[in-house]
Amino acid sequence: MKMTGAKIVMECLLEQQVDTVFGYPGGTILNLYDELYNYSDKIRHIRTAHEQGASHAADGYARSTGKVGVCFATSGPGATNLVTGIATAYMDSSPVVFITCNVGKGLIGKDAFQEVDITGITMPITKTNYIVKRAEDLADVIREAFAIARSGRPGPVLIDILKNATAEEAEYVPMKRSYHHLEGRLGALISRASHNMKAPEPELADIEKLVDMIEYSEKPLLICGGGVVRSQAHMEFEEFANRIDSPVAVTVMGGGGFHGRNALTTGMIGMHGSQASNMAVDNCDLLIAFGCRFSDRVALDPTSFAKQAKIVQVDIDRSEINKNVVTDHHIIGDARRVLDMLNERITPKSHREWKEYVFSFPTQTDYVLASETLNPRQITDSIDRLCPRDVIVATDVGQHQMWTIQHLHYSYPGQLLTSGGFGAMGFGLGAAIGAKVSHPDKIVLHMTGDGSFRMNLNELHTVATYNLPIITILFDNHTLGMVRQWQTLIYDQHYMATDIGAEVDYIKLAEAYGLSGRRVTNQADFEEALKEAMACGRGYIIDCVLDIDEKVKPMVNNGAPITKFLILD
């Protein structure tokens, strides 16, 4: 049937079972919003305070549900405001479809009002992107975009639609999602072996070789990376770890991929990795990494990383193999499929002595009690004790992020939402909004620092407007703590531009948005505030006062061997 481009977009979103869109309206995208008005019973629109917040919210929605997130923005500044959010999704392989509208055909290239080449800008940070000039191309492109976003290694895709294409009419033929791969652009793409949209099937010979390597290994170590989370392979991974009785180190992105309360976990690995994790890397004889690219925050010094071990990399993306660390063996495939195949073939092992060695080192750091302030462990310990086990935790970036990941126990994919690859301060509140919208029944914590919070605290407005009971736990130390920590340890205590002062009254800020809040300086008050926050049913800020010199421990310097701790405890 004939309909406008805008209506085709809505119908295509319904084909993809999209129920929620995050976005912000503007001039060129008005046709889409006008049509969204007619679809508001089927598609819920969440308007944020800023496009960046919308981009992070769509990302948080995608990470916490495993579905494709959708985000709308207008041309020009609307589109460029998405850029940080797109890059965040790209670095952490999160499936989000961004739809922007550009000026009409006659104005393209004329430097029209709010015109920008957003496909050019986002080329390096999307899996692919499109500019759609005609309404008849829309359905085809949208179907391909969603398939690409969710297939293989997931990631963001951007569709830029010219305004005329949203107004013009074209023929739309409804098609169920299960038929999309048979026709049109997507059909043509899939017919090529290189882009068949399927995860590569692991090769049996590779699996058997790994089984052999495990058989001969006396000191194995597993790394749980973000790929385990994206593939929702946490059950299979746990079974595998239990079977070969191997310690498991977890990356920042791997949080939720391995049960944090399993006795085999050595905690976080890398720059702020636990002693147990990092010592295990240095001493293991076989290191098997699942869905982990050995970034510079994990393999700080690639040449000395796991120097005694055979390194095996399991990844869905061929181009990650041998990128940062040279491996001895690799398997290309989806983590879950690989683990299934391994679990069928592995004979149970026991590594008591090796585990005794690894777990003779601490998996977490203790912090000294101060009388005037809270310490980070008091906050995380109380959360661990008081919050339900399925609490969703969204973090910003910095010290609080490391503490949150080091000391809370995650048990399922999508429980921890954090900007691990891109490290975008301001991610947390947006992501928390995305998570709360999709999981109204779960408690959602937004862990933040005073630096990160100030990046996107305008989204408190979204929290208030849509009455999303998100609990913001603010690690308030009046400084950009992580940067200050580097200045203390590496830059001769030259505290340049890091101390951000105490002039903001966050409780009054909460009240300004119609939310509640409380400032706390000890654990008893924190717990009381947390209980109140969970019960109150609306947005709540707990302003936790921390010492300005509190540090994330342990720490290994950039590029240093992984056991050369700059500070321990």
Partner: protein, 183 residues
């Protein structure tokens, strides 16, 4: 470390922006494109891009190939073996000629190199030469003393010798398996 020169043949969809998609990937990953040539083929809507690039070693170039393979408009990427492929470039050179003696000398040089004279004017000659760098650089060096007024080159094009073609599945597979037991 001495960098090695590699030749890649990349088959892509002939759509707008595809050249910048491919070329920007190289600079993004820290590689400088030494030579690039693109043109449509006998198959409709397919373009062949030939790129020459310097890289440290085979692992580096294989990583890069796999990055290029991930681009959606890319059909296939082939790393061409330099000893088993034909590489050619077309160079057009406009040379100043003061007098007939000089003109004759230049015509002689181009005959030796099997270059062709494609334009003659009273005080200039334009020469077209096809070959690998060794040949083209040699004639450029010889012509330099006469004064090169203008020059243009297509960039290197390369095809494998024999009946192998780019899309042959087994060869691509072989490249995917690089790096096993590299230590």
């Amino acid at each position: 470390m001495e960098k090695k020169r590699y030749t890649l043949a990349i088959m892509v969809d002939n759509e707008s922006g595809v050249l910048s998609r491919v070329s920007s990937l190289f600079s993004r990953k820290g590689y400088n494109i030494e030579s690039i040539a693109a043109g449509t083929l006998e198959t409709p809507n397919v373009t062949r891009i030939t790129i020459e690039v310097l890289a440290d070693d085979d692992n580096q170039i294989n990583l890069l190939c796999n990055q290029v393979r991930k681009l959606f408009p890319v059909h296939s990427v082939k790393l061409l073996n330099s000893s088993q492929s034909i590489r050619r470039e077309l160079v057009l050179i406009k040379v100043k000629t003061e007098n007939s003696e000089e003109r004759n000398e230049i015509i002689q040089i181009s005959n030796i190199f099997r270059a062709s004279i494609v334009d003659v004017a009273t005080n200039s000659l334009t020469i077209a030469i096809i070959g690998e760098e060794e040949k083209t650089e040699a004639i450029i060096n010889l012509l330099q003393k006469h004064g090169i007024l203008e020059m243009g080159r297509t960039g290197i094009l390369a095809l494998e010798r024999g009946a192998f073609t780019l899309d042959e599945d087994t060869k691509v597979r072989g490249e995917f398996d690089y790096g096993k037991n590299v230590r």
